[in-house]
Symmetry: C2
Subunit: 276 residues, 2 copies
Amino acid sequence: MNALETLSARVAERKHVCVGLDVDREKIPSRLLESDAPTFEFARAIVDATKTHAAAYKLNFAFYESEGVEGWRALCETLGYIKETAPGALLIADAKRGDIGNTSKKYAQSLFDYFGADAATLHPYMGVDSLAPFFERADKLNFVLALTSNPSAADFEKLTLEDGTPLYRAVIAKAKSWNERKNVGLVFGATQLGELKENAPLFGELPVLLPGVGAQGGDLSAVAGALLEAGVRNFLINSSRGIIYRTDGEDFAEQAAAEVRRMNDAIDEVYRNVGA
Amino acid sequence: MNALETLSARVAERKHVCVGLDVDREKIPSRLLESDAPTFEFARAIVDATKTHAAAYKLNFAFYESEGVEGWRALCETLGYIKETAPGALLIADAKRGDIGNTSKKYAQSLFDYFGADAATLHPYMGVDSLAPFFERADKLNFVLALTSNPSAADFEKLTLEDGTPLYRAVIAKAKSWNERKNVGLVFGATQLGELKENAPLFGELPVLLPGVGAQGGDLSAVAGALLEAGVRNFLINSSRGIIYRTDGEDFAEQAAAEVRRMNDAIDEVYRNVGA
């Protein structure tokens, strides 16, 4: 199965929750620090507990990169474990890369060939030739940042262009034009509910990754409702801290799984309410 | 010395050349592949030969990341070697990072604390809160992408805003407003000569990193002239492939050094012509 098929299969089961693995040594239960590989052990427990409920796992590269070579080793082991243990879940490298063509080609090799991710997140600022080496990979999914979840998305993403539309809408339009291989998607912040309602009807066939539910305050049911009402089915709603750090007790993984199930139930209720 | 002082000291000697270390196993002389650490040996030879002539070294993270954990190890060793061998040169982590605040904080730790870089390149798309963890580092330099050297810079960077100015000019204006700690700079493509002439007078105190000379075709003397005529002194002109891959013979490092000297001489001639 290619990445889009993996996503579509999960979505057909009404599974839309992406578990964000922002694995931070300072936040994981302290007893794990006695292990040789604390961040791996933490992620493994989360994945074991959530693998039948989650639609996707999103690995935040920054949290691993801050630990240098050892962090990259843990990232590699963690991605390998997820691929083996939860083959039906989409494996997203949340690395937000983007550079000139010959350099982006190397980033694509890193994320897709070395780490074996199914999908990546990408910065659109430098335009299509900076993304093309990713788009050449027909079996992958490439989520391009459109409107992000953070407050300063207003600085540039929401700037009004001469035609009266915001910059992020130009990204959405370009992304649709780049989707010849059915492997382009969007990142759209779950905190941007008004903009989501307005723009979801424009997404077309593009899968959407929505961060910002949980610690950032996005409203899960409202977000799912906006998407389903617009006919968007291939969406993933990510929560990171809101799932993986519910407790620092022994039962952190069970609590994470309970939260994913709760999110699944809430989305299922939205399906029923919308009649989708 | 902080990063700005390091840059200023080099610039005072009319040294403006940044050696771009896009170290690619497929392009380095084949005899180096017999070594245990080919990319490190290649970079070491280049640095040894160029250290008195170069103003800065720019490490392209993608080329190392495509080799995974071993690539990161080589990157770490290479950065450490440059810091020790060429302490007067600015050490730039060309990683083009940018994410929400708690994540960018981890990227800053990776580039500045783990790798010990003096400077980083950053994507502006997500706005100031995605850059703030970098800007908090008063001793570093943070080069924000304004107008890049690649053709598809036209896709978004050059889009016209409602006030009639291009998006990249809004980035320049914001970057100036973010420069309270004198640690913000710009990336401006050396291939964009018309735009450079028009915008250099707006750069103010911001240091500028200009990629695109060499393989990408930017005109060194014209670029240096546009900057000096606008009164911009803190600039670095980067060439990567045009310096490090002049030959695959035994004398690749000497040829790289000769090219850096040739670039220095050309810039020196521009100083004389401009009367700066």
